[in-house]
């Protein structure tokens, strides 16, 4: 049996059961294109009347979007009434396919899941062949919401009595994910609020520093944090009630008294041992090697999942999450660096020592870490000596031998101490939930002050005034480049090339034109600056090859779209998106006309030069 149904058989089956028009969601663009190719020799021709109808419809669309006139896929689409629709195509071609589908000329479209969002593109049937999708660099299971967006395309109002969602297996399918997705309630959505440098500058431009906390409090992020804080406050109230019997006794703070004593007594025996086997450097690290901590090893990095002692091992041991979700064990001595970065980690008592959500998230976070991470400074206590045993001995077995409250205290201590710890933990968490956004804002303010965009009194400096207009990714890098006059005298094609390499965040490899020496040295400068900024802003991929492509498009007005596409293995749609993103970045630089007239002029020339051919068709 084949691992998945042959596209021709699939379409035949759908036609036979009158389940067309259908959208067939496939895992990748490649899969969509391959599926189209299988029809090359298939005997599935549309009746001539329908072929002509497609011609007429396409002619009408071509008036608005001339770039589709000679599209190489037109012949196959009109012959079989089936098309592919994915991000590798030009927007105008996608519009044409959507329009053909809307008018009922097509029987099926092979598409990637990007189609699921927003585009009004309904069909009688959707065919689902996958249960996970590529998100950044990894495959993740479809959420319930996503399954419902996909299946939601089935059944057109006014044109269908019922819609059909048909699952057909491929080696990538987990049926449980899909059945859960079809029958479940969509997930709750959570705030993804982040505080960026331009946000800080723009807020401080319009509002005095002391009002900002109130503005941040209006975010959905804070709304959700407050919900969590309120839950904790209820728990805290409950703890308060439970604590009532353990109020002040003969000594007001009897719990602390007992705690101190208990602590000393318990550590009397172990103290020596721990310090015998571990060097001061290692033991100073131990308190930091807690679950969620990022560490550097001889080769690569890891995130601590647990710390434990193992019989027969001299040193404490760590369980580490390594790249590709591997879990390994190693002694603390193999840790080379302790980084100033930790992630939340919900611990569990069994392998892999954290909840599955945490595990998946940490795996992802580990993969996404920037190449440079600040190292945590750890003070090593010199000549640390434990308390002399004599002192501890002198504590005796009990601190308050004559106190009348002693039996009661002794009886209640365990419960009271646990409750008080819980109380302190909740109080701390509530505090953190209420103020974390503000702290993150303050951190950003400090960086902007350090770089001179803000005065110590949090006013915008002259540089801050224009820097706030750069509201895109990598804004700090871009404004620092402008301040370093990296672009002064650079011609529009170099500026566009550099911005393209900043705007492009896809790591798919490809073949590209050679890069000019001018652009190459400018990119070297950008890379160096990006590295030095990495503690404050994640460095971009900085692909020289895509920069070269955009440079060519801008510097050679005689280059046609087809000519440009021939220079690279990138798909048309990707080139279009690259240029469109570059335009966005350029237009932000263009906004700096009053402070940087030369640069703004260069940006505006680049914009005019980019906007030709297909790039002129759509606003």
């Amino acid at each position: 049996m084949p691992p998945s149904i042959h596209p021709v058989d699939l379409i035949t089956a759908l036609r036979q059961k009158h389940l067309t028009p259908a959208i067939v969601f496939l895992t990748s663009r490649r899969a969509c294109d391959d599926a189209m190719e299988t029809f090359d020799h298939a005997d599935l021709l549309l009746p001539p009347a329908r072929q002509e109808a497609i011609d007429v419809a396409l002619e009408r669309i071509t008036v608005q979007h001339p770039s589709i006139a000679e599209h190489p896929l037109i012949p196959i689409v009109r012959r079989i009434g089936i098309a592919a629709h994915h991000a590798g195509h030009l927007p105008s071609w996608k519009i044409a396919i959507e329009e053909l589908m809307r008018q009922g000329h097509l029987d099926a479209v092979f598409a990637t899941t990007t189609l699921a969002a927003g585009v009004d593109f309904p069909a009688r049937t959707v065919v689902i062949t996958q249960s996970s999708i590529r998100k950044s660099r990894d495959f993740t299971d479809l959420t319930i919401g996503e399954v419902q967006q996909i299946s939601g395309r089935a059944g057109r109002r006014g044109k269908d009595h019922v819609g059909f969602a048909i699952v057909t297996p491929s080696p990538y399918i987990d049926l449980a994910v899909l059945t859960k997705g079809l029958t479940g309630q969509p997930e709750a959505i959570n705030s993804q609020f982040t505080i960026s440098y331009p946000m800080v500058l723009n807020l401080l431009k319009a509002h005095p520093h002391e009002q900002i906390q109130g503005i941040l409090a209006k975010s959905f992020a804070q709304f959700q944090l407050n919900q969590r804080a309120e839950l904790l406050e209820q728990k805290l109230d409950a703890v308060h009630v439970q604590m009532e019997p353990f109020g002040p006794r003969v000594c007001t703070d009897w719990i602390t008294q007992w705690h101190t004593f208990d602590h000393a007594r318990r550590h009397r025996h172990t103290r020596h041992q721990t310090h015998r086997s571990e060097s001061p450097e290692i033991s100073a690290r131990l308190p930091f090697l807690t679950p969620g901590r990022v560490v550097g090893l001889g080769k690569g990095r890891g995130i601590v999942l647990r710390q434990y002692r193992s019989k027969g091992q001299k040193n404490s041991m760590l369980t580490l999450l390594r790249p590709d979700s591997a879990v390994t064990e190693c002694p603390v001595t193999s840790v080379k660096e302790v980084y100033d970065r930790t992630y939340d980690c919900t611990e569990t008592p069994t392998y892999p020592w954290c909840s599955t959500e945490t595990f998946d998230r940490l795996s992802h976070q580990l993969a996404e870490l920037p190449s440079h991470l600040p190292v945590l400074p750890i003070l090593v206590p010199l000549g640390f000596e434990p308390l002399p045993d004599a002192i501890i001995q002198s504590l005796g077995d009990f601190p308050c031998p004559t106190c009348p409250s002693r039996p009661a205290c002794q009886k209640d201590f365990t419960t009271a101490s646990r409750l008080r710890q819980e109380q302190q933990r909740h109080t701390k968490s509530i505090q953190a939930l209420r103020t974390s956004l503000w702290h993150r804002f303050q951190e950003r303010v400090e960086v902007l002050q350090k770089f001179g965009y803000l005065t110590p009194a949090t006013q915008l400096t002259i540089d801050g005034e224009w820097a706030r207009l750069i509201r895109i990714d990598h804004s700090l890098l871009i404004t620092e480049l402008i301040r370093a006059e990296a672009f002064s005298g650079a011609d529009p094609s170099l500026l566009a090339g550099v911005l393209a390499s900043l705007a492009h965040d896809d790591d798919r490899p490809g073949a590209f034109p050679r890069i000019s020496p001018g652009l190459s040295s400018l990119l070297g400068q950008v890379r160096k600056l990006a590295e030095s900024l990495s503690p404050y802003e994640d460095p971009p991929l900085l692909r020289a090859d895509v920069a070269a492509l955009v440079e060519r498009w801008v510097s050679d007005p005689a280059l046609t779209w087809i000519g440009l596409c021939r220079l690279t293995t990138m798909a048309e749609g990707d080139i279009y998106r690259l240029l469109a993103r570059t335009l966005e970045f350029l237009s932000q630089v263009q906004a700096l006309k009053s402070t940087h007239p030369g640069l703004a002029e260069s940006a505006s020339q680049a914009i005019t030069l980019i906007r030709r051919g297909v790039l002129e068709e759509l606003p």
Binding site: S4, A117, G118, F139, Q148, I166, P169, T183, D324, T356
Partner: protein, 351 residues
């Protein structure tokens, strides 16, 4: 335990357990079928056999603990059951209650043309907009655009301007065409990062980022006069609020949206729309009403198509058995098990 014994023990476990076991051991384990998973786990166990065995025992123990014993799916496995047990015999399904293929395919077709009558929820949303902000959370394809169009029409009749935002440039372009057809080309404009078409029109379409930037410029004194007359802001596909990279832009836009303008958030079905509405009520001068429903306007049926071309309903019931993911059609279940059995580890045909 020998490798064979381990393999047999693994084969007796449900896939879900294998996936739990594979977490942290097998990269992208969720993409593997049962056979493949077992193979990969065994491969992995060459490095740390003891760990795998003990975790497997823990997991089996958890399943058989008194807490889990209520579950009907546990077959308390005798030491070793013959591995070639037919998948058919796995669980006696009440086949007679399952829907038949012909019934499942019945009723498909094109309804006769009906005059357009707004749905109750559409009217409810429109009248709520008279005195409140509105969050709409309804399934895909329900007709949110109608509400947007009518609301825009009413605002413009009141001499107010309207801004409509979408997350994608492609979607903005589609809406630009659609709205121009409805309201006439002079009434509708579109703003992108570097271009304006008909930028003074009363109904402006843009991406949410552009609106956010406009609002920042307005807040810092570079007043855009048009914001004074702004009567309605429509944020389509508002579930983007949860987008890891861009979600923050929706929050900024909502926080800085002028108080005299009504907000209309259109969203696909999400789990907590009431939270969104409560949030808006808590930060804006008007209350926010939630309009939601989860019933699809065109009913949905799910099917299973086997690679050999055989079609069967996916669930026992005609419609989707909401809340009951395990109510699979016995035929679909059988075929899928067969599929998992027959696809080789690499996912290529056996022969």
């Amino acid at each position: 335990m020998t490798t064979d014994e381990l393999e047999q023990l693994l084969a007796q476990q449900p896939v879900a357990l294998l996936h739990r076991l594979a977490r942290g051991r097998v990269h992208r384990h969720f993409r593997a079928g049962k056979r493949r998973l077992i193979e990969l786990l065994l491969q992995h166990s060459s490095q740390n056999r003891a760990g795998l065995e003990s975790d497997l025992e823990t997991l089996i123990g958890e399943r058989h603990s008194p807490l889990g014993s209520g579950s009907p799916h546990i077959h308390r496995a005798p030491a070793i059951t013959p591995k070639k047990a037919s998948p058919r015999g796995a669980e006696p399904e009440s086949a007679e209650t399952a829907v038949s293929l012909s019934a499942w395919l019945e009723g498909l077709g094109v309804p006769s043309p009906q005059p357009f009558v707004p749905d109750p929820w559409q009217n409810e949303a429109l009248s709520a907009l008279n005195e409140a902000d509105v969050v709409i959370s309804v399934p895909t394809g329900s007709g949110k655009t109608y509400v947007a169009v009518e609301a825009a029409r009413r605002a413009m009749e009141d001499n107010r301007t309207v801004i409509y935002t979408s997350p994608l440039k492609a979607l903005s372009n589609t809406k630009y065409t659609e709205f121009s057809r409805i309201f006439g080309p002079d009434t509708v404009g579109i703003l992108t990062g570097d271009r304006q078409e008909n930028g003074q029109a009363p109904l402006l379409i843009m991406t949410t980022e552009i609106l956010r930037n406009l609002l920042y410029d307005a807040a810092s004194g570079e007043i855009d006069v048009r914001l004074d007359t702004l009567g309605l802001v429509i944020l389509d596909e508002s579930q983007y609020l949860a987008d890891p990279e861009r979600g923050v832009v929706w929050e900024e836009t909502i926080i800085f949206c002028p108080s005299q303008a009504r907000l209309l958030l259109l969203s696909a079905s999400i789990g907590n729309p009431q939270d969104i509405a409560d949030w808006l009520t808590s930060i804006r001068s008007t209350v926010c009403r939630l309009v939601r429903h989860s019933k699809r306007t065109v009913p949905l049926r799910a099917g299973y198509l086997h690679p050999n071309g055989k079609l069967t309903p996916l669930f026992k019931t005609l419609g989707i058995p909401y809340g009951h993911p395990s109510h699979l059609h016995p035929e679909a279940k059988r075929l899928f098990l067969e599929y998992e059995e027959e696809t080789l580890p690499t996912g290529r045909p056996r022969r």
